[in-house]
């Protein structure tokens, strides 16, 4: 049973690309931690450094209390499932499963026994004598899992193991992985760019962007209390809409001006002392697409945005509409979206009013970091 700790890890490639920037992170014994981020965010690099396939430019990697920076991959007792499975094409399934054990110089009898146990667990018994090229994608995936499990490693690494499978199989194997990990209790790092996979598998999820850890939190926290605009925009489908808003003070306290209309922050959950440094400045205001709703007729006292629809996607149980960005500032989203009820009949080009409640509003400072709400006690990159 093992704990993994990254301390101030950085990685710069020979061509100058900075893949990981001063990253600290620890994985508890028996935990399944998911590394989530868009492609090129450094999540695979981090995994490969733990496996020993790349070496960090700075910082320390520990497994339990041992620094493994300078250990060769074969000395780390780590197992890895590759995106393309990397089954040895010239070996049968049985030989593939036996390979890690052979490298450990186990006796033939013991190898046979362990291969059998793993094959049974992953329903591979009938496939033992087949060659990898005769297997389907899902079967190959199971063999790759088996090869990783067979020698009871300290740490289990998975690099986008489901991305080459079709949707249905992905769902099924996702559940298998979760169950296997629970049953074996092996500390696992799981890399994916798919937030649904991340949220269903990991108790904690580390979100990375350009080599920097953005937030390490549970799925719920990532959704409900994103640490910054990147996490807010990345989590959720579609991600949070973020508008430029001017913060100002009137008789009733602080308010933000979005699209020319003022919205009082009195019931927003943001304390005055949090808001006061930004008085008169432009901040970023976010709202989840599912928190917007269609307002027909009179606004009443609802805060509404008047938008012209650029796209309408009917998904059956809901309708997702897209509209051009409001108060666009440099680098922000070019388009916003809203998730509306399936009954709403809408056309492209139609101008509609979308209502939002101040309780659903998220505020970020000009640099994109979340402003703390009353009752929040999360530091953005807590390690545990």
């Amino acid at each position: 049973m093992s704990r993994v700790t990254f301390t101030h890890i950085s990685k710069r490639y020979a061509d100058g690309t900075q893949a990981i920037v001063d990253l600290s992170l620890s994985v508890a014994d028996g935990e399944l931690l998911v590394l989530l981020g868009p492609s090129g965010c450094g999540k695979s690099t981090l995994l490969r450094m733990l496996a020993g396939l790349e070496s960090p430019s700075g910082g320390e990697i520990r497994i339990d209390d041992m620094v493994v920076n300078d250990l060769d991959p074969q000395q780390r007792n780590i197992a890895m499932v590759f995106q393309n499975y990397a089954l040895y094409p010239h070996m049968s399934v049985r030989q593939n499963l036996a390979f890690p054990l052979k490298m450990q110089r186990l006796r033939r009898r013991a190898i046979e026994e362990r291969v059998r146990t793993v094959a049974e667990r992953l329903s591979l018994l009938e496939l033992l004598d087949k060659q990898p090229k005769a297997l389907s994608g899902g079967q190959r995936q199971r063999v790759a899992m088996g090869r990783a499990l067979v020698r009871e490693p300290k740490v289990f690494l998975m690099d986008e193991p489901l991305s080459n499978l079709d949707a249905e199989l992905r769902l099924q194997i996702r559940q298998d992985i979760a169950r296997l990990q629970r049953d074996t209790g092996i500390t696992t790092l799981y890399v994916t760019h798919d937030q649904v996979e991340a949220m269903t598998l990991g108790r904690r999820i580390a979100v990375l962007k350009r080599g920097v850890l953005q937030q390490l939190a549970t799925a719920h926290e990532l959704y409900a209390r994103p640490a910054n605009t990147f996490v807010a925009g990345f989590i959720g489908s579609p991600g949070m809409d973020i508008f430029a808003a001017i913060l100002h003070r009137d008789e009733q306290g602080y308010a933000v001006e979005i699209a020319g209309r003022s919205l009082s922050l009195r019931d927003s959950g943001y304390a005055e002392e949090v808001l006061s440094p930004f008085d008169g400045k432009t901040v970023q205001a976010g709202v989840r697409p599912e928190a917007l709703r269609l307002v027909r007729g009179d606004d009443g006292d609802v805060h509404t945005l008047s938008v012209t629809l650029a796209g309408v996607e009917r998904l059956g149980h809901e309708v997702i509409v897209h509209f051009p960005a409001i108060n666009r500032v440099g680098g922000s989203q070019a388009e916003h979206s809203a998730r509306l009820a399936y009954q709403d009949v809408l056309q492209i080009g139609e101008t509609v009013k979308l209502g939002l409640s101040v309780k659903d509003l998220y505020l970020f400072d000009p640099n994109g970091s979340a402003l703390p709400r009353v009752g929040d006690n999360v530091s953005p990159t807590a390690t545990d």
Binding site: D72, P73, M80, F82, A86, Y88, M103, Q104, R151
Partner: protein, 276 residues
């Protein structure tokens, strides 16, 4: 429909004609080796040039009577076997280091290896002769093997094949507990059979007919290869064409056998090294 069939026929005619261009000399050699000496040249202009009237093994008996053919064959086989065998190991390892390991000076060395491809052997034969003579390496097997083991063409063929192999296979082996060399021997080599066959055939063909170098470096028939032996038939009067052709057949036969044995892999090797 008719038109398509006509084109088909034309295709085959053209291909057959081309094939004949390549097969005719071989047929001539085989046929010539099986008939009395006088007829070899006199039947040149008839169909008998490639179809002997009767089969006569006398030329073959002559070859064995006039020179120690078995000795020459053994010399050639040993020299080529060593060049090919040692070459596969040395060049594959060199190419693997260039393709997969990262070390200072790698790109410079790679460029140097590729540059060597354009230098013809004749250009370095004389300096090499002086160099090795100074070492006292003359008139033995070693001097005929050693300079040809490392081969830039072989390194290049291996190198480009290894680059095309999925890196994850070796990485998986490393993580599964194999060292670099173990991963190379257990994972890379079994998946690189086509390129090994290709390199084996190419180097074998390259050196089986080698003439200049053994002529420079050897004087003793005990270590000389086949191409030098065939030359004695031109210099020992009378010049008997039947004997020369019989010798030729016996010299080509091993090449043919090796080519046919490795051919399925060879063709695949050429295809994959080309695409990847």
């Amino acid at each position: 429909m008719h038109r398509k069939r006509l084109w088909n026929v034309l295709d085959y005619l053209l291909l057959s004609a081309t094939a004949m261009l390549f097969i005719a000399p071989v047929l001539f050699m085989v046929a010539g080796s099986l008939k009395p000496d006088a007829r070899v040249l006199s039947e040149m202009d008839s169909l008998r040039a490639v179809l002997p009237a009767e089969i006569d093994w006398q030329n073959y008996r002559d070859v064995f009577a006039r020179i120690p053919f078995g000795r020459y064959l053994w010399n050639s086989a040993l020299i080529n076997g060593l060049i090919v065998g040692l070459g596969l190991i040395v060049n594959a390892l060199a190419a693997y280091a260039l393709a997969r390991l990262s070390w200072r000076g790698r790109t410079v060395i790679l460029a140097g290896v590729l540059a060597l491809l354009i230098i013809p052997f004749e250009a370095i034969a004389v300096p090499l002769f002086y160099q090795l003579s100074a070492l006292g390496w003359r008139n033995d097997y070693l001097v005929q093997v050693f300079p040809f083991v490392a081969n830039p063409l072989a390194i290049y063929l291996f190198y480009s094949f290894f680059l095309g192999l999925p890196r994850e296979l070796e990485e998986a082996a490393r993580v599964d507990g194999a060292g670099i060399l173990r991963a190379f021997f257990v994972i890379v080599i079994p998946n690189a059979k086509p390129v090994f066959a290709t390199v084996a055939i190419v180097t074998f063909l390259l050196y089986w007919g080698m003439y200049l170098w053994p002529l420079l470096m050897t004087v003793d028939d005990g270590v000389r290869p086949l191409p030098l032996a065939i030359a004695t038939f031109y210099t020992l009067p009378p010049v008997q064409w039947g004997d020369i052709l019989a010798f030729g057949v016996m010299m080509v036969l091993p090449v043919l056998v090796i080519f046919i044995a490795f051919q399925p892999w060879f063709v695949r090797g050429v295809a994959t090294t080309g695409i990847k």
